[in-house]
């Protein structure tokens, strides 16, 4: 009986990794669809987000059943707790990616300042790297990797603030300003995705050590 419990817990863990891969992919595709104004790719991201929502619910149900039937303790309890917390972050990250994809579907604007796009692209690259690392930290239960995530979030926050300053200095017609508004939002979504990835890292640190001191509040 216990063996099947650990198998079921292992399956849940694998499902989280699958969900994480879909989220990771959606973040990348959302950014790509925005930069290329590729509306069919954006549609795929939005459609795929529904899949993420379904996975979220299915994993949560699996956790509830294991809690009710097995009363897990120690590392097993921490794993279930980590999974329950992680899927909330992953689901939110999926929503944020879908929001970015939604922006990609809006009317395009050709005369944008390339400096802003460069900064956005740089930020997107760092965010994707951070997301990938947070998921790897979970897959490998690698506490050292989790410790680096907070530091990796700092340049993202700096780029975000730099972008906001750049937007603040823009002057132009309504078309430019509309474009700028949506890009401010997209930058904000990316910045939030990074924060969720850092939170996942903290959860993984707690999973590994059982020490609540490993949890910081991400602002």
């Amino acid at each position: 009986m216990r063996k099947s419990f650990h198998e079921e817990l292992g399956d849940l863990r694998k499902n989280v990794l699958v969900m994480g891969r879909v989220v990771e992919e959606n973040v990348a595709r959302a950014v790509e669809s925005l930069l290329d104004r590729n509306s069919s790719l954006a549609d795929q991201v939005i459609e795929s987000d529904k899949k993420i929502d379904r996975m979220d619910m299915k994993i949560e149900q699996g956790c509830m059943v294991l809690l009710a039937r097995q009363q897990p303790v120690a590392v097993d309890l921490r794993m279930i707790n980590t999974i329950l917390r992680m899927i909330i972050h992953l689901e939110r990250m999926g929503d944020l990616a879908a929001n970015i994809a939604q922006i990609a579907k809006e009317p395009t604007f050709d005369h944008y300042p390339s400096r802003i796009i460069d900064l956005f692209q740089e930020m997107a690259g760092l965010v994707q790297d951070l997301v990938g690392r947070s998921l790897r930290a979970f897959a490998d239960e690698d506490r050292r990797l989790t410790l680096s995530l907070n530091d990796l979030d700092k340049p993202i926050d700096e780029l975000y603030h730099q972008l906001i300053r750049e937007f603040g200095q823009l002057h132009g017609d309504e078309e430019l300003m509309n474009w700028a508004t949506t890009m401010v939002l997209a930058s904000r979504y990316l910045e939030r995705i990074a924060d969720h990835a850092v939170s996942i890292g903290e959860r993984v640190a707690y999973l590994v050590t059982g020490n609540y001191a490993d949890l910081h509040i991400v602002d």
Binding site: R2, V73, A74, V75, L77, T209, G210, N211
Partner: protein, 261 residues
Amino acid sequence: MSAELEIKLCTKNLNFYYGNFKALENINSEIYKNRITAFIGPSGCGKSTYLRLLNRMNDLIDGTLVEGLVEIDGQNIYDSNIDVSELRRRVGMVFQKPNPFPKSIYENVAYGPRVHGVKNKNELDHIVEESLKRAALWKEVKHKLHTSALDLSGGQQQRLCIARVLAVDSEVLLMDEPCSSLDPSSTMKIEDLMFELKLRYTIVIVTHNMQQAARVSDYTAFFLVEEVDQPARLIEFGPTDEIFTRPRDKRTENYITGRFG
């Protein structure tokens, strides 16, 4: 729960032998007053043996030897000047199978006080009522105190055995698998009772049921025999909240998560 912990019982460098066989090795532990301490571990890990050392029940087995100290309120219970029956009054035991005497409910509870010299009928009545109330059995039996204790259900018999210990003004209750022969609702009654009793008493419970240890105890001690013919050791002792969420020792973790044992 108050933050101050008072040590009621403790053992220091305790070894225990059955003949030449060392059954327990170097057990150092503290049992806190007005707390529930659970002993857990696989079968044969020494937890019941250790429990029985705490009121010298193992004295009844020939060829046993105790090394080290077992103290109650700072006094070694294996000192030669200790009155063992007085010790067992202070440190009472409840067993796995309820073992009422084949007498009336009243006589079961009154027996101990009588042995300890209480003769006055009113006083005995009072002790019986008070003990049955504290054991959460009074309401169910007050109208039939003089019927046979053997007619009670298993759960009621177990609470009667608890009342019997309380009747002699015990300070510590040692419970050896007190619920393993009871159904879930009787088990819950005993567990609820333990919560009430710990306000007045110190409780030590041996249980095979890990969920029960997690539910009822404030502190948990994990015992283990690592290799055949080796003595049992205390592997980890700590607040139950910690033992069941982040045990420090890998062996504790493996046991409580069902990875062995």
